[in-house]
Amino acid sequence: MNTIFLILDILIDIIMVVLPLFLIVAYTTYSERKIIGFMQSRLGPTRVGPFGILQPIADVIKLLTKEVIIPSNASKGLFLTAPIIMLVPSLLVWSVIPLSEYFVIANINAGLLFILALTSLSVYGVILAGWASNSKYAFLGSMRSAAQIIAYEIAMGFALVGVLMAAGSLNLQEIILSQRGGIFNWYWLPLFPLFVIYLIAGVAETNRAPFDVSEGESEIVAGFHVEYSGVAFAMFFLAEYMNLILISILVSIMFFGGWLSPFESTFFESYFQWIPGFVWLSIKTLSFIFIFLWLRATLPRYRYDQIMRLGWKIFLPITIIWIFLEGIMIYYKVEPWFVI
């Protein structure tokens, strides 16, 4: 009987995370079109509902009612499983994300490793989608994207190593708690290079502009999902935006104190006591999502060899050097971050 209640409890938790997440994804696409539109002196969607606010819902209905076309000579089973492989890890990661001081679906010890392992799985969706489509453009796109994901994953992993060294724990709640004590105690300051690298590598991992060579409309049509339509395409789309939100929330958890208040241990602390931690986390996450959209609106696409050079020859050495420096800082217990 107890197990049934436990399972029910977990199910309710999952629904509490996943349903709002889908809604947020839908409105991230809307705000992306709006924000980029305004940045480029356009209006963005205006037709469906006031200010085009119902546009994402119209898009969802359109995608769901379209036919899934399977190309001839495509490997049918893999063609249909690739979007699922893409979507599942990016959903699964949300199970360990602490959304407030009390709420996390699974507060596991090795949370950071879990995230690292799962984000490394999404590359299969990309490779299989490209291969199974039996199309040159899709295959080229998937090759580009996979090489890029592998290159940046290493720098990303090293940035995470820096965080876990500073926090002394792999548990995400403990990582947040170890950053207590106001805005200058958060890890963005002592780990500044790692923070910047993690942010940029996050853009590259999610295949977004300016690192979107895997889509490269002007070169290879639309990249690895060029042959997909309808629901199958919607799943790729969903996974991409979920990863975008995930990277933003991870940056805010690991470098910006997660649900901690920025006014901690200052004069204003008591005035902002009533704001729940979830609100702070949302504000931080939304500002990083905005930065991602901003990047897409302003920067031109990188050339492919430049991307590879940046990943392997610049980011990787910087992370390794900073981990050494951080080790020295931890050894000498530099205040206020490394007092254990």
Binding site: S75, N109, L113, F114, A117, S120
Partner: protein, 200 residues
């Protein structure tokens, strides 16, 4: 019935069937994917044994890194299945011999180990907590430091030898020198031509 036992049987079944699929499936890409899936299933079995660090590392290293590169290579190669299957009868006897030797050795070893399993369990090591990951790190950097470093050096040697084997300066490669690209001035790229016909 216990939930863990149900999960164990489901994933053992999946593990066995996907491992069989690795050798029986005709398409090399599909067989590589079955291998990925079997790694994944065994990671879940490890998780059931409370070895969360090892199971996540199995996914991270083997599924997330090694098999991706493997899949890359397999996709790029144009493997002819019928040609690969030609020597089946010729190599069958050798295959049986190798299989019998390995199976015999393994079953002998496992039988002996399970027989006196109490001798193989390490009991005399002090652990620093219940956290699997922390304990493992602690042991690796204290008790087994030498073995750990030797393994690291062997891996480094592997990396260096792999790079030296494949690194050949090809004369047909086209390469952009980034520092040269960055240091160009306007006068090198841009020439302003006065259109004299227009001025008249």
């Amino acid at each position: 019935m216990n939930v863990e036992i149900i999960i164990f049987y489901i994933f053992s079944l999946l593990l066995l069937s996907s491992s069989i699929a690795v050798v029986t499936v005709n398409n090399p890409v599909k067989s590589a994917i079955s291998l990925v899936f079997s790694f994944f299933c065994s990671a879940i079995l490890w998780l059931l044994l409370n070895a969360e660090f090892l199971s996540i590392i199995l996914i991270l290293v083997y599924v997330g890194a090694v098999m991706v590169l493997f899949l890359f290579v397999v996709m790029m190669l144009d493997i002819n299945i019928s040609q690969a299957k030609e020597g089946f009868v010729k190599y069958f006897s050798i295959g049986i011999f190798v299989f019998a030797t390995i199976a015999g050795l393994l079953s002998y070893f496992f039988y002996n180990q399970f027989d006196n399993s109490s001798k193989n369990i390490i009991t005399s090591i002090d652990l620093i907590g219940t956290d699997n990951t922390k304990n493992l790190g602690y042991l690796l950097y204290t008790e087994y430091l030498l073995a750990f470093e030797i393994a690291a050096i062997i891996l480094l040697l592997g990396i260096i030898s792999a790079i030296t084997l494949t690194l050949r300066k090809s004369t047909t490669n086209k390469y952009q020198n980034p520092s040269q690209q960055v240091n160009v001035s306007k006068s090198e790229r841009l020439r302003i031509i006065k259109d004299e016909g227009r001025e008249k």
